[in-house]
């Protein structure tokens, strides 16, 4: 009976599990693979994890309300490309603001499609993603620019007290998102929507407002990630966001958040992004062929999810 109580408690705290698994994996990496024990290695893991992490935090916001945003990859590229393009004419600050504004706009369009056209989130966000990709081709006439924006450069590459600024930014964003999702009224509404839309409507949850805010926040964060990436590489490209589409969702889920919505904790996503980055690095370190590497990644994700992310049955 005791055991089942403990199991129940642990089950309810899947985000904690994610951190536990992260710690164990890291330990295993240090012991069984070389190169994971250095400060430099930690430094770069948390730095690279923060690009994915920022996108994944945004993704968590919409997944929690049982949505999904497949346009994040396009928004990452959109924000970077727009910023690089605008900065050539109008300087860094204007460029950054423009990029973020455009990103938010995409989020609003996504939400509008869900609310007024009643499209499934997967369809709507996929379509906006395609449209953005096409629009970027036209906007840049095919050749996106490079840009050296000092603010972004230091944000992406600098460190304070040995901690990468990008990571600090990520954690600050995560903290703000924790407030939004877990402490504020809107967050409660998002959780409610994530578990039952009819019941939420009938309880007076402001469905449109919640949807607009969460999708806009998600797109905004994808935009921020695009800017940080622009700072990191100094150049924009039309395909730079591609890896983040599926990986951001995988991070959310590895963080213990239910893809069906309404269950999980945002901090789990922080662990999820770190875990995914670590796994990728680990697989690189093992020096397997690409085929075996993908097989291992797929199996590892499934096994980890089996440990702590199973859904309960509605019996």
């Amino acid at each position: 009976m005791m055991a089942s109580t403990i199991r129940g408690a642990l089950r309810d705290n899947r985000a904690l599990w994610a951190f536990g698994v992260l710690a164990l994996t890291w330990l295993a990496a240090i012991i069984f693979a070389q190169g994971f024990n250095s400060v430099a290695s930690v430094h770069y893991l948390v730095q690279t994890a923060s690009f994915l992490g920022i996108v994944a935090v945004g993704q968590t916001l919409v997944v929690m309300m049982s949505g999904i945003d497949l346009s994040v990859s396009a928004v990452v590229a959109l924000s970077a490309v727009v910023c690089a393009q605008v900065s050539a004419g109008s300087g860094g600050a204007v460029a950054i603001l423009t990029a973020l504004a455009v990103s938010v706009l995409v989020g609003l369009v996504n939400a509008a499609g869900l609310i007024w056209l009643r499209l499934p989130p997967m369809v709507m966000t996929l379509a906006t993603g395609t449209v953005i990709a096409g629009a970027l081709l036209i906007y840049t006439n095919g050749s996106p620019r490079s840009a050296q924006i000092p603010l972004l450069d230091s944000l992406a590459n600098g460190s304070v007290a040995g901690i990468p600024l990008a990571t600090i930014l990520w954690l600050a964003i995560a903290a703000a998102a924790v407030w939004l999702l877990h402490l504020s009224r809107l967050g409660r509404y998002a959780f409610a929507l994530g578990t039952s839309e009819p019941a939420s409507r009938a309880s007076g949850v402001p469905v449109p407002v919640t949807t607009f805010v969460m999708y806009a926040a998600c797109a905004l964060l994808a935009g921020v990630a695009g800017l940080v990436l622009l700072g990191f590489t100094g150049t924009s490209s039309l395909t730079m966001g591609n890896p983040y589409q599926l990986l951001s969702i995988a991070s959310v889920v590895l963080g213990g958040t239910s893809i069906l919505g309404g269950r999980g904790h945002l901090l789990g996503t922080v662990a999820g992004a770190l875990l995914l980055t670590l796994l990728t690095a680990l697989l690189v370190a093992w020096n397997l062929s690409e085929g075996l590497r993908q097989v291992s990644l797929g199996l590892l994700i499934i096994v980890l999810l089996l440990v702590y992310a199973r859904e309960r049955r509605t019996t």
């Binding site: 009643r118 996929l126 395609t130 449209v131 096409g134 599926l246 062929s289 097989v295 999810l305």
Partner: protein, 324 residues
């Protein structure tokens, strides 16, 4: 009395609305076909039908597979990877000679059915949502495909490739294959299993509480989807005369788009295969149509996104319940 009458009116209205869906799709398809015919007058000639059906076969069969999974309330994000896997296994086993082609087909289908069933077993037993299981599985099967066929290659007997792509004594082999596959589905649908599929998708717990072995149903459904996906992969291999380990990727999203367009619900239990067929045809023809219109490629992507949104939105808005 009045009540009864009103119920009857309401019911027939609903029936019309249910079919309105398909009627609308059919109408759209006719419009597209007419426009197509003007741009390409050979549309209805056997040669063109052969070419087009060879072109559409992989998408149609993949969408059939996706539909089966979606009817159970699931989704298969590993479909593209399994399609490539089927293709890869098929081409490494084909050499010249009919016998070996048949054997290779059987082996390839066995592999894809097993891959699908494995997905299904994970969904059924692991208690993980299908979208996540199959996302992870897409890495898994993608990796397996790369191990089986590290880079494009393999060879399908030239005679078969020619017969398939150019017609065989005037017969459009791919069209026949599609028809056979759809008849196969029709039979499956009228079996108990077919009804169970809809029952599980519509109310899983209800089905379970009534003694349906929901786990077995899911495993079989995903396995069946693997069968159709494998057929799609084999079709693609014969069309292209070879195998390519990464060629299947776009089919994942395209198959979902076709199914959604055809009226299959993401929540399971709702939708008809003929809807999916129409959806896939429409998607394929529209993409082709863009090629004839000479619209700048830059705008084509935008148009694709807009068309998808518009089609699905019109469909959902036209068929939704009138609740506040």
């Amino acid at each position: 009395m009045r009540n009864r009458l009103e119920t009857a009116v309401r019911l027939s209205g609903r029936a019309a609305r249910g079919n309105l869906d398909l009627v609308g799709l059919c109408g759209l398809l006719v419009v597209v076909l007419v426009v197509y015919q003007r741009l390409d007058p050979t549309l209805l000639e056997p040669a063109t039908i052969t070419i087009l059906s060879a072109q559409f076969l992989p998408l149609i069969l993949a969408a059939v597979g996706q539909t089966i999974v979606m009817l159970t309330g699931g989704i298969d994000l590993s479909l593209g990877a399994v399609l490539s896997l089927g293709m890869a296994v098929f081409v490494i086993n084909t050499a010249d000679g009919t016998m070996s082609v048949v054997t290779a087909m059987v082996i390839a289908l066995a592999v894809t059915v097993l891959a699908g069933a494995a997905n299904g077993a994970l969904v059924a037993y692991a208690g993980l949502p299908p979208i996540i299981v199959t996302l992870a599985a897409s890495f898994l099967w993608g990796g397996v495909t790369l191990i089986v066929l590290p880079q494009p290659g393999g060879h399908v007997p030239t005679g078969l490739v020619r017969a398939y792509n150019l017609g065989w004594y005037g017969l459009a082999l791919p069209a026949i294959a599609i028809a056979v596959a759809l008849v196969l589905w029709k039979v499956v649908k009228t079996t108990r299993f077919g009804l169970t599929l809809y029952a599980v998708g519509g109310n899983e717990h209800g089905a379970f509480a009534n003694g349906v072995n929901t786990r077995r149903v899911k495993i079989v459904a995903y396995g069946l989807a693997g069968l159709f996906t494998g057929l799609a992969g084999i079709g693609l291999a014969i069309q292209t005369g070879s195998g390519d380990p990464t060629i299947g990727t776009p089919y994942t999203l395209n198959s979902i788009a076709a199914a959604v367009l055809g009226g299959i619900s993401f929540f399971g239990g709702i939708g008809q295969m003929r809807g999916t067929l129409l959806g896939a045809l429409l998607l394929g023809l529209l993409t082709n149509l863009l090629l004839f219109t000479g619209i700048s490629t830059f705008y084509q992507m935008i148009l694709q996104g807009v068309v998808l949104v518009a089609a699905v939105a019109v469909k959902t808005l036209a068929t939704r319940e009138r609740v506040a």
